[in-house]
Amino acid sequence: MQIPGYYEFCNKVKTVSGHNALDKLPEMLASVNSVKPMIITDRGVNGAGLIEPVKKALGAKVKAGGIYDDVPADSDVKTVKDIAAKYRAAKCDSIIAVGGGSVLDTAKGVNILVSENSDNLMNFVGFGALKRRLKPLIAVPTTSGTGSEMTLVAVIADHERDVKMLFPSLFLLPDFAVLDSRMTKTLPAALTAFTAMDAMTHACEAYTCLSKNPLSDSTAVMAIKLISENIMQGVKKPGDMQARLALANASALAGMSFSNSMVGMIHAIGHSIGAICHVPHGVCMSVLLPYGLEYNLHKTGHLTGELLFPLKGAEAYNSAKAEERPLLTIKAIREMNSDLRKATGGKHPTCLKEIVDRDGNMMVPREVLSDIALLSLNDGAMVYNPEDLDYKDALMVLEKAWEGEPLDRKKIKKGKKTSLVKVKD
């Protein structure tokens, strides 16, 4: 186990996991002295009937101060202000966020405004802006992927100024994360597939990027193991509650891991594809994961090799030589994507050109790759990537990922090689 010269790790979120975990909501609220929570969610979640178990759990004892279900796919300042006003008007004293990444981000933004009694999010941008405990926030994820229930950052868009504001603060970590298998039961197969691969990517990048540490390592390995063991079951048998619970736990573990070790080029490029082409985050992650690991092989090949164990099991790890493992890991991830493509009837993409919207139109046309490459260089995640990328490097990765071909590793400009195993080009 690698002990870094320096590291930090924080995951102060009370996790409550189980097939009926939501039923503990009244206890959770009581423990933070809350009597009037506000429920924040989006139309999709509400439409799928997922607020019902929450309401049922609250029962007669707790009366919610309101349900706001109009959170857009991309959390923005206006929505945050809007909800904050409703929160104040209803005199709520805590937030229950039910949904995916954008709901969580929005709820975190609302929490800043109502706790600091402010109307201007701008005052709280950047590190160290928040100094006090906020109002209680309970996160109930409805996908098993983003891990936002375990992360300390909120990303909120200001459409007027056309910027994305970043709020990194330990005070934004939710007080509770409720992992209830019922909340992901109705998730369609394709969504289950790419959200799980999103979590997989968090864990793989966490294990190979610059801020890795003993705890991010062990949580990442655990997450990868749970995902590999349960992803197919979750996709093929949506009603398998044990698999659902396992994936929810995996996603939270991966969130814990990457929130502390940060992520690298896969996220940097993925964020940019999302920003330019509006592709869901998890989809970008699924496709890019093998490419990121491949690009960094000369730096972190030995770490990638170790991941063969949680991905394919002990026998597969043991029967391969150390220098073969890194490429086998990458192969295993590519196979996983292909298997998911089969299992979802072609909905899960294995390369960028296969990503289509609801009407079957290609979402990432080849001609935008250069814009994506340029934008990705300005993404914060690049800092934590083991190897540098310039514009040409990012474009090369994107072009190969578009076609679905492996990288030509001879063409990668390599800095000092730090991988403990030698991987053949």
Binding site: M1, I3, P4, G5, Y6, Y7, E8, F9, C10, N11, K12, V13, K14, T15, V16, S17, G18, H19, N20, A21, A30, S31, V32, N33, G128, K131, R132, R133, L170, N213, P214, L215, D217, S218, T219, V221, M222, K225, L226, E229, Q242, L245, A246, N249, A250, A252, L253, M256, E306, F309, A314, E315, Y317, N318
Partner: protein, 390 residues
């Protein structure tokens, strides 16, 4: 991988470990809205120069340390805590830093209860409420640390205070604070911490989150113990201290196991240290669990104990047994420096019986009648547990 139908997991403590981590303390306190800490510690930490290292690290911060209270002794008493509380108030402090082993952390946690509730009476805290707004509290582990610093527990005058919120906000593990100790003094807290982490992940209620932490703790201890004892490179000592600190988090998230209950009772009855009792009992408890319960010792234990290569090379059905053997190997390897059987400690037989009796009731359901005594007897001779189902 084992996922129970229901579980809870919580770790309040942020770990900040490594080079120049002490220097972050002023910044960290300020980001929790605090500027004036009270340092609570013992004479040994002062004599070893640890307090001075902290004061130097404060250089250029422009902040003031309210006072350094060095009156903590091995047995933490309410009087000590009250003295510290008076000092805290007189100086207008707003946060707490403890330097040292568990007694210092216990005192700090109790101090936090008093000053955050503006009271002088510890006894009023019968059961601790959930939503206490405590002062920012930083623990700096030293080579005296047992892992209890990062736990939910404080023990004052033998009375136990327990709450999630008593966990420190930050544990700052700085290599400069980890002074060299005698071999036995290095080994014992590490083995006890390992025993607790091992026990947590060999319980029926084990969950993937606590397992992750337990595996990290066990692996850090197993990989670094020998090197820390023989020579003590900075890396190994830091690794060990990390493993020990993480074990406190794991322990707080697991039910009490038969091994630590036995160690506790045995320590009380014989006057031996808890660390020593826990170390001696560790492999034997595990051996007993393996042979008498189906579920609890999972093959996965081998992974943190022996490392990924040995784990993957072992046949699946053998992993449980190999894991236990590897633990035996580690403990026996320390026999040059510490006793590893109860016989070496000259514990008479009737004490074994009364010790077993004391814990029997709580664990008979789980491990069968007579289990506790079987563990103690095999630990007495240093032999494998005889009989049982394999």
């Amino acid at each position: 991988m084992q996922i129970p139908d229901y579980f809870k997991f919580f770790n309040k403590t942020r770990i900040v470990s490594g080079k120049k981590s002490l220097e972050n303390i002023p910044y960290e306190l300020q980001s929790m809205d605090a500027v004036k800490p009270l340092v609570i510690t013992d004479k040994r930490s002062v004599d070893e120069g640890l307090v001075k290292i902290l004061i130097d690290a404060y250089g250029d911060s422009g902040l003031v340390i309210g006072a350094v209270f060095d009156g903590v002794t091995a047995y933490t008493s309410a009087k000590t805590v009250l003295d510290a509380a008076r000092l805290f108030r007189a100086r207008g402090c707003d946060s707490i830093i403890s330097i040292g082993g568990e007694s210092c952390a216990f005192a700090a946690k109790a101090l936090n209860l008093l000053v955050s509730h503006k009271t002088e009476d510890l006894l009023q805290f019968d059961s601790l409420p959930d939503n206490m707004h405590l002062c920012p509290f930083i623990v700096i582990p030293t080579s005296d640390s047992s892992g209890r610093e990062t736990s939910t527990r404080s023990v004052i005058d033998g009375r136990i205070y327990e709450s999630d919120e008593l966990m420190p906000d930050i544990a700052v593990i700085d290599p400069r604070m980890l002074k060299k100790r005698g071999k036995a003094e290095t080994i014992l807290p590490a083995l006890r911490a390992m025993a607790e982490a091992v026990e947590a992940c060999t319980e029926d209620a084990a969950n993937p989150m606590n397992d992750s932490f337990a595996f990290a703790s066990i692996q850090l201890i197993c990989e670094n113990l020998a090197a820390a004892v023989n020579g003590g490179s900075v890396k190994s000592v830091l690794g060990l201290a990390n493993g020990i600190a993480i074990s406190g988090i794991v322990w707080s998230n697991a039910p009490e196991g038969i091994g630590s209950a036995l160690a506790e009772e045995l320590a009380v009855r014989t006057g031996n240290s808890r660390e020593l009792c826990a170390a001696v009992l560790l492999p034997h408890t595990l051996d007993y669990k393996l042979k008498n319960t189906k579920k609890s010792v999972r093959g996965e234990l081998l992974l943190p104990v022996a490392g990924i290569d040995r784990y993957c090379a072992a046949a699946e059905t053998e992993r449980g047994l190999l894991g236990v053997e590897a633990v035996f190997e580690i403990v026996k390897g320390m026999n040059k420096y510490i006793p590893v059987t109860l016989k070496e400690l000259n514990i008479p037989r009737y004490i074994l019986e009364s010790t077993a009796e004391a814990v029997e009731d709580s664990f008979a359901k789980q491990y069968g009648k007579g289990g506790a005594l079987m563990i103690l007897e095999s630990a007495y001779n240093g032999e494998r547990v005889s009989g049982g189902k394999k």
